[in-house]
Symmetry: C2
Subunit: 231 residues, 2 copies
């Protein structure tokens, strides 16, 4: 494990407060691996042998049932997944697959649970992390249940605008995956983009331009209790 990776991990809120010796113990069992795109890292139902930390690239979390599949979230550096299963030693509820070439740290779940049991600061950091994850999923549920697909797309675009800090930005994922993430079909996403044109949204390939922010916001009605990440 190169020193720079060690520091990246140590700087994560999840690991920054724990005792040095416990962090060292975790790092001793850890190893870094490079994965090509489209590699399955975990399959739902599996027992969580490792806590994953993504250092570079991106990972798709998705779920399947009865031949259908839906994208649940995208994980980007530097962060961990899937923590809840590792700590609880319960089966994965989501599968994970690299979207691009990715560098990922694997921490044996048993080590994580051992340190969790003896390091209170680590336990508290996990609480903060899980509480954030929990709140994110609740927001996602509200988005799904309270909004139409057009409204979900409009609010998604506003969130991306805020993330990029510009009225002009590129989509960070394939449209087909965005569709799945937003709970609709690719065909419908295509139509939804057209449907937002009257509200000042220009789309060319992956490039989005919001030409009338007020108009879009008036339609989307963004709400901090659904759309503000980390709030």
């Amino acid at each position: 494990m190169p020193e720079s990776h060690r520091d990246d991990i140590r700087n994560l809120a999840l690991f920054s407060d724990m005792a040095e010796e416990n962090f060292e113990a975790l790092m001793r069992g850890a190893y870094v691996q490079n994965f090509p795109p489209r590699v399955d890292l975990a399959v739902e139902g599996d027992t969580p042998d490792f806590l994953h930390i993504i250092l570079s690239g991106s990972v798709d979390l998705f779920s399947s049932w009865n031949g259908r599949e839906t994208s649940m979230a995208t994980v980007r550096p530097v962060s961990t997944f899937i923590l809840a299963a590792s700590i609880n030693d319960a089966p994965y509820l989501m599968s994970a697959r690299t979207l691009e070439k990715s560098r990922i740290v694997l921490l044996p779940s048993q080590d994580v649970r051992d340190v969790f049991m003896k390091d209170g600061d680590f336990a508290r950091a996990i609480v903060t992390e899980l509480a954030q994850c929990y709140r994110s999923v609740i927001k996602n549920t509200k988005d799904l249940k309270l909004r139409t697909s057009l409204e979900r797309l409009a609010n998604y675009l506003l969130r991306q605008k805020n993330r990029s800090g510009s009225l002009e930005f590129d989509l960070v994922m394939e449209k087909r995956r965005l569709a799945s993430f937003l709970g609709m079909t690719p065909e419908n996403l295509s139509r939804a983009f057209k449907g937002l044109e009257p509200y000042g949204v220009k789309v060319q390939g992956n490039h989005i331009v919001i030409t009338d922010l007020d108009d879009l916001a008036r339609f989307a009605r963004p709400n901090p209790l659904i759309d503000d990440h980390h709030a």
Copy 2:
């Protein structure tokens, strides 16, 4: 605070492992209150002044946006809500309202955070609780995104069957709220019940009889990674 309530709370997984003195500290600031039906206990967006523990009755957690409203969950004794907001000191994402006459313990959030900061066992118990909540919401999202409303109802009925341990049971909530919880309108729930008749579901008012479990299960295709609570 009567002694019996104290014990009910102490026996909750969330509080059973913590140091006695810390538990006492929490209880000193706590008070029990009886609420009539349909009382708002918390409104989404509010700051969480109290961690709530429900001793009897039932509480609806729901969310609103743009004039629409959806039921997110029902809390039943003995359990806590809304923990994540209290710990994070972040605004409620859901509103809470008593469904019936309910007895509820209010623990000042600041006290909870104070004890959380000094009691590692309490922190670990919170992790377990939050991880469970998180996994429940993930399952709910999968249910919503991967299934049609008819399939959601069918699987809901199978879950209730398992809870009651019988092929015959009463619905534990009003149909209108069940509809909202399952992400559909009351009209559609009515039609969905009819749609399940061919699969061996008999409905009379709140009373449900599953006359052909195999048939229903063949249609519903229940999955532990969506339907098993606490797994």
